[in-house]
């Protein structure tokens, strides 16, 4: 393999990896921000409802609403974890590919 080709492959690999990693990090960040915002809104809604609607039916509804918020946050965590796992997998793939190219002998 010519040195220029090897270097080009490594540069390409590096660039691809960085692009994917940036995308996944951005996704993760946005997920964290938006889910935190939604959870905050949910809590505001519950607080708002508690002021304008009272009684057993309201309590039941608010309990359900809180449960739904918790569930959403849990799903957001799981989603965030999945993104992190995907990022690590991509990193390992990158490292393996880098390794493989590194071992290629140059002419």
């Amino acid at each position: 393999m010519k040195l220029e080709v090897k270097l080009h492959q490594q540069q390409q690999l590096q660039a691809d990896y960085e692009r994917i990693e940036a995308h996944l990090r951005k996704q993760t960040k946005e997920l964290e921000e938006v889910s935190a915002q939604l959870a905050a809104n949910d809590r505001m809604l519950v607080a708002g409802l508690q002021e304008c609607w009272q009684g057993p039916a309201a309590e039941q509804f608010i309990d359900d609403q809180r449960r739904a918020t918790r569930q959403f946050l849990q799903q957001a965590d799981e989603c965030s974890l999945a993104l992190e796992q995907e990022r690590r997998a991509k990193q390992q793939d990158f490292e393996a590919a880098w390794e493989a190219i590194s071992h290629q002998e140059v002419d």
Binding site: Q27, E30, L31, L45, E51, C52, W53, G55, A57, F72
Partner: protein, 592 residues
């Protein structure tokens, strides 16, 4: 400020119902004691002669309205209390709900969800499902919150009129009971009130009575609170007029129900007075939707025995007043002793006036069956046989000709809308459209000739055709013209064929005159005879003059069927001529 519901206040309302009902019961008891004193005085002979009469007046003027109002209010309160409890079920599980705050929360959540909708449409597949789920969950939340608002608004709508006027009425009844129990019935039968009491309560009760009868009125769209108050006042005033006309409580309640059914929006430049005038105008039109609803609400099935005939008589009186057949509107008056009603004169002007008091009602309407049943219930001995109710029977008889003229005009109007060149074409087009007609009824009585053996002007021998719908509605076709006893297009002087041979509405359910029910059957016992044929004494004078003075006579059954009689022609009996003419009419009716 929006609506607010508090269970604590609901308990207060429920308690107020119970308190008011208990008050009414106490008032009724107090009143009963005083009533008993008067009754004892009357029955015990303490009051007699003028004193008796005076006491009776006091009784009718003060005690009866108060007792009636207390009874009615107790019934209404009890009913409203039950209704309130049932409406309250809608708010089960809720102790407090604020419409404005709930609306704000809904708006906020709805706006937020629009943002989520935008996020989950972004091409990030890793998080898309999460936001999609959140969006759907919020949509479900919005539906549930909106359902709470709907419940609150429906509950408010259901209950807003349930307890609006009672405080005033309870107070008036309390004042009335106070007035009566503290006052004194004197030895001469007059009543002396206690110092410091007055009769203002009586006027309040009268105003409230009509409100209760008509029921709560919904607020038409486009009305401000002040306009709504004016609307209620005007409608209740109108209801009082209808009550004075004789409409019963059941009919007036139907009047209220009709007004509440999809009320029209108040026009931008329309006054409340004009709105009420327009929306209630049909109460003055016989056969209009509103009139029929009010008529049907006073169902004769609700009455037993003698009450049923009395109720039927009342309905006919209301009908005659609405139709302007009463002496207040119709001249000339009937004979002395018949002051309550007017007399048909056969003039175009009078006929047009009478027809202007009909709504849009077709000759096949069920109303005509119901009217006929009412006539038979009210006057079981027939029209001429109704000795005790002769003036009413006379008006009811003459109204047959008015109904028939309206039905004739209905067909003419139908023909005009559908391009008919004359009455005959109009009738054919109209009958085709309904598909309901009978061409086989005998037309014998519509082939009269005078003493000089001449048919009435415009009539040809045997050729006046008779077509009926449900037997009640009748059309007589002479050549190309429909003829009736009275005609909005002809004065009686130019309507001889119509006056002697024309159509008239039949009150009998069917032609039972020639019934073969049994060998002993007497045709004079038939309804057709009692209500539609034996009416000469009750006929308008102009008709009597035409038929009697000129001696117009219908053929007997045998003369009708004889080719040799003066009613036949060219070797055919009048009946055969009639059948031949009818055959041609039927061919035209069947051909399209």
């Amino acid at each position: 400020m929006g609506l607010r519901w508090k269970r604590d206040e609901d308990v207060e309302i429920s308690n107020a119902f119970a308190t008011n009902i208990a008050s009414m019961q106490q008032f009724a008891q107090n009143l009963q004691t005083q009533v008993q004193n008067v009754v004892d005085a009357i029955e015990g002979g303490t009051l007699s002669g003028k004193a008796y009469n005076a006491a009776n007046e006091v009784f009718k003027e003060l005690f009866l309205p108060l007792g009636k109002a207390a009874d009615s209010l107790t019934t209404s309160l009890t009913k409203a209390s039950t209704q309130y409890l049932s409406y309250r079920e809608k708010m089960a599980g809720t102790d407090f709900l604020d419409e404005d705050a709930m609306s704000s929360n809904i708006t906020r959540l709805s706006d937020l969800n629009k943002e989520i909708d935008a996020i989950h449409k972004l091409p990030f597949k890793e998080t898309r499902h999460l936001f999609q789920d959140k969006y759907k969950q919020n949509e479900a939340t919005l539906i549930k919150l909106n359902a709470q608002l709907t419940k609150l608004r429906e509950f408010d709508q259901d209950t807003q009129n349930l307890y609006s006027t009672w405080d005033e009425e309870v107070t008036a009844i309390a004042q009335g009971v106070n007035y009566i129990t503290k006052g004194k019935v004197n030895a001469n039968g007059t009543f002396t009130p206690a110092l410091g009491t007055n009769r203002d309560w009586l006027a309040t009760l009268k105003d409230n009575e009509i409100k209760r009868i008509v029921g709560p009125l919904e607020r038409p769209k486009g009305m401000t609170a002040a306009q709504y108050r004016a609307y209620k006042k005007a409608v209740y005033k109108r209801a009082k007029e209808l009550q004075a006309r004789g409409w019963t409580d059941a009919s007036l309640a139907a009047f209220g129900v009709c007004l509440n059914y999809n009320p029209k929006k108040l026009g931008a430049k329309q006054s409340v007075a004009d709105y009420v005038k327009d929306e209630t105008a049909d109460a003055d039109k016989v056969g209009s939707g509103l009139f029929r609803a009010m008529w049907a609400a006073d169902d004769l099935k609700m009455y037993d025995g003698n009450e049923k005939a009395a109720a039927a008589i009342n309905k006919l009186q209301v009908l005659m007043r609405t139709a302007h057949m009463d002496a207040k509107h119709l001249t000339p008056k009937l004979n002395p002793g018949d002051e309550g009603y007017g007399e048909l004169d056969g003039s175009i002007a009078q006929t047009k006036m009478l027809l202007s008091h009909f709504g849009d009602i077709s000759p096949t309407s069920d109303f005509w069956n119901d009217l006929s049943e009412t006539v038979i219930t009210a006057l079981p001995s027939g029209l001429q046989g109704a000795v005790l109710n002769q003036p009413l029977a006379k008006a009811v008889n003459q109204y047959r000709y008015v109904i028939s003229a309206q039905q004739m005009q209905y067909v003419r109007d139908y023909g005009e809308k559908h391009g008919a060149a004359n009455d005959r074409e109009a009738l054919i087009k109209y009958l085709r459209s309904t598909g309901e007609y009978d061409l086989d009824e005998s037309a014998r009585l519509h082939q009269k000739k005078n003493s000089e053996d001449k048919p009435a002007p415009d009539a040809k021998k045997g050729q006046n055709l008779k077509i009926v719908q449900n037997f009640h509605s009748e059309f007589i076709l002479s050549g190309d013209h429909l003829i009736s006893e009275i005609d909005p297009e002809k004065d009686s002087d130019h309507n001889t064929n119509g006056v002697v041979n024309g159509s008239s509405f039949n009150y009998a359910e069917g032609n039972d005159y020639n019934s073969d029910k049994s060998d002993e059957w007497n045709a004079m016992h038939s309804d057709h005879y009692k209500y539609d044929m034996e009416v000469n004494d009750l006929d308008p004078i102009f008709r009597k003059n035409k038929t009697k003075l000129s001696e117009y006579k219908a053929p007997s059954s045998s003369a009708y069927n004889s080719a040799q009689s003066k009613y036949g022609e060219d070797g055919l009996s009048a009946h055969e001529i009639n059948q031949k003419t009818m055959k041609k009419f039927k061919e035209d009716l069947d051909s399209d």
